[in-house]
């Protein structure tokens, strides 16, 4: 892998982002405001503050870091799905990049690095909103950007590989409908996984989002985690590495048959 071309792929993404960042920042601010207002304040007023399963924090504090991790997942999966399909098939910008010194490894790695940049921005903006809601202390919100980034990348890399092997965008819609959205709802974002029926709990524990939520919540609020923090992080990191390693040959087969 060459550093120069990889950096230039990041730069090209950044340049294209200059056209759309305003809209995307608005989404980044508005969506946590809506969630925290509706779920945290609205629904949360019905939830007993002292509920043991919440680990001794109020409901809005409980869901704020969970939402941060889940938003990182959604942002990353979204960025690794439709824009990647556009680069491959609809606009063919990936073909343009590959006609230059940029190779498949640099293209995939540079795009993932760019998603990482996006995730950090999203996590910091989101964190600021949670602080404004009084849900999370400022230092916790800033530190939580780290695990949120890791959570997002655990999706960005495998979803890139998935998109590379998807002929049609209906496969992307299916991924969200049957993968991302259920995870969003059942991986500990809104309620502890321990509240799920017993048979469903192992499934929830296997999802990367569960580990992302655990880690992000622990860092943001200073709570203990189900596993040692390094184990959660390792689990997520494995998704990043395996996803990245799978995305490169998948993209090569797709773009350079």
């Amino acid at each position: 892998m060459s550093a120069g071309p990889t950096l230039r792929v990041i730069e090209a993404n950044a340049r294209a982002y200059r056209r759309t960042w305003r809209g995307s920042i608005v989404t980044t601010v508005v969506s946590p405001v809506l969630y925290l207002a509706a779920m945290g304040l609205g629904l949360g007023s019905l939830v007993s503050h002292a509920h043991a399963a919440l680990g001794g924090v109020g409901y809005v504090s409980f869901i704020a870091p969970g939402l941060l991790a889940a938003t990182a997942m959604q942002t990353a999966a979204g960025e690794a799905a439709w824009p990647v399909m556009a680069g491959i098939k609809w606009v063919k910008t990936y073909h343009a990049a590959l006609a230059t010194p940029v190779g498949v490894v640099e293209l995939v790695t540079g795009n993932l690095a760019w998603i990482a940049v996006r995730l950090v921005i999203t996590a910091l903006v989101f964190g600021a909103v949670t602080v404004a809601f009084g849900a999370v202390p400022a230092a916790g919100a800033a530190a939580a950007a780290g695990p949120a980034l890791l959570t997002g990348m655990a999706f960005a890399a495998p979803v890139t590989a998935y998109t590379a092997v998807s002929e049609q965008d209906t496969r992307l819609t299916s991924l969200f409908r049957f993968g991302i959205v259920p995870m969003f709802l059942f991986s500990g974002t809104f309620f502890p996984v321990s509240q799920l029926p017993g048979w469903l709990q192992p499934v929830a524990y296997a999802t990367p989002l569960f580990h992302g939520v655990e880690l992000t919540r622990a860092v943001a609020l200073g709570l203990p985690t189900a596993w040692p923090a390094a184990a959660h992080a390792g689990y997520l990191l494995a998704f990043v590495v395996v996803g990245w390693a799978a995305a490169i040959p998948a993209m090569r087969r797709r773009l350079q048959p």
Partner: protein
């Protein structure tokens, strides 16, 4: 007097005979399907080299292997003396590529498309700003420099793709159907620009379905058919080898062609029957026209013309370009 033995003969490279692109038994398969079937060719520095052939002949597959964006299945390929398998990045740094399908970023402006592409080559921003302006001027797109690409006409997008391909001042420019979708004026303007690039020493590889274009631009060309090379040479050589000096084109009233064909037997060296006309290949067109009349055949229209590359193409591939 110096020792004669120290005056060495110029190397192949110095004489400019070192092939810039060289292929031996070059093969491309997609699964079991053979798209390029063991072809050989050598492209010299500074020449304009054409690949002609009907749809599906394997032209784009060959271009993509040369451009190092499609792995060689079998055989040997050298570009700038380097192996695409190992040195793809170094080769691509010196190539300009105009792909058959545009790959422009539609959300960006005309200028940004050139700028970002140039950045992929690692060119500094200051150089790129200058070069983008020059190239847009060269391809007559300066007025649209700050417009988004999406609403541009097809021909303008094509011109932008060509401008973009020149941003790294390539030694070798690969053009896959560069003028498809251009109006006649834009085509002639592009020929003029390609000719100027050639004078500057840029080597050109061109595929096209326009025979006049190939005749105008190409020093040498190959005709591909069904994954193989059917013929190779300069346009004039090919015409001399595969066609006669003149061609008589006969058109008949609707439905009358089949009946007339039998009567034309033996009048020309070779006849080609197309859906809408009959071509008679002959050394002397006027004599053949007179002979047609003597047989009592009355075509609706008769044209005598010189042989062109199109006739060669027809002969070699058995297919008309206008299918």
């Amino acid at each position: 007097m110096g020792d004669v033995s120290t005056i060495r003969a110029p190397s192949r490279r110095e004489r400019g005979h070192e092939p810039l692109v060289e292929a031996h038994s070059l093969t491309k398969r997609f699964g079991d399907f053979v798209a390029v079937d063991g072809i050989d060719f050598a492209i010299r520095r500074g020449e304009a080299f054409g690949f002609l052939g009907p749809n599906g002949a394997g032209k784009t597959s060959t271009m993509r292997m040369i451009a190092c964006v499609s792995p060689v299945t079998e055989g040997e390929l050298r570009v700038f003396g380097l192996d695409p398998r190992r040195d793809g990045e170094r080769i691509r740094a010196r190539l300009g590529v105009v792909p058959q399908d545009d790959t422009l970023d539609l959300e960006l402006t005309v200028h940004e498309n050139i700028y970002i592409y140039g950045r992929y080559f690692g060119l500094p921003p200051a150089v790129l700003r200058e070069r983008a302006a020059e190239l847009l001027d060269f391809m007559q797109l300066s007025e649209r420099a700050h417009d988004r690409v999406e609403p541009l006409s097809g021909g303008m997008k094509r011109r932008l793709t060509i401008a973009r391909a020149l941003v790294n001042e390539p030694d070798l420019l690969i053009l896959d159907e560069p003028t498809t979708g251009l109006d006649p004026q834009a085509r002639h303007a592009l020929w003029d620009r390609l000719y100027r690039l050639k004078q500057r020493g840029v080597t050109l590889i061109i595929t096209t379905h326009y025979m006049d274009e190939a005749e105008q631009l190409c020093d040498r060309l190959v005709v591909m058919d069904r994954a193989r090379i059917a013929a190779e040479g300069s346009p004039r050589e090919l015409i001399a080898r595969y066609s006669t000096r003149e061609v008589v084109e006969l058109r008949f009233p609707l439905g009358a062609q089949d009946a007339a064909i039998a009567a034309l037997d033996g009048l020309a060296e070779r006849a080609e029957v197309l859906p809408d006309r009959v071509l008679l290949y002959t050394e002397d067109g006027d004599a053949t026209v007179a002979a047609v009349a003597r047989r009592g055949v009355e075509p609706e229209s008769t044209v005598v013309r010189r042989s062109t590359l199109e006739d060669v193409f027809l002969h070699l591939t058995g297919r008309s370009l206008i299918e």
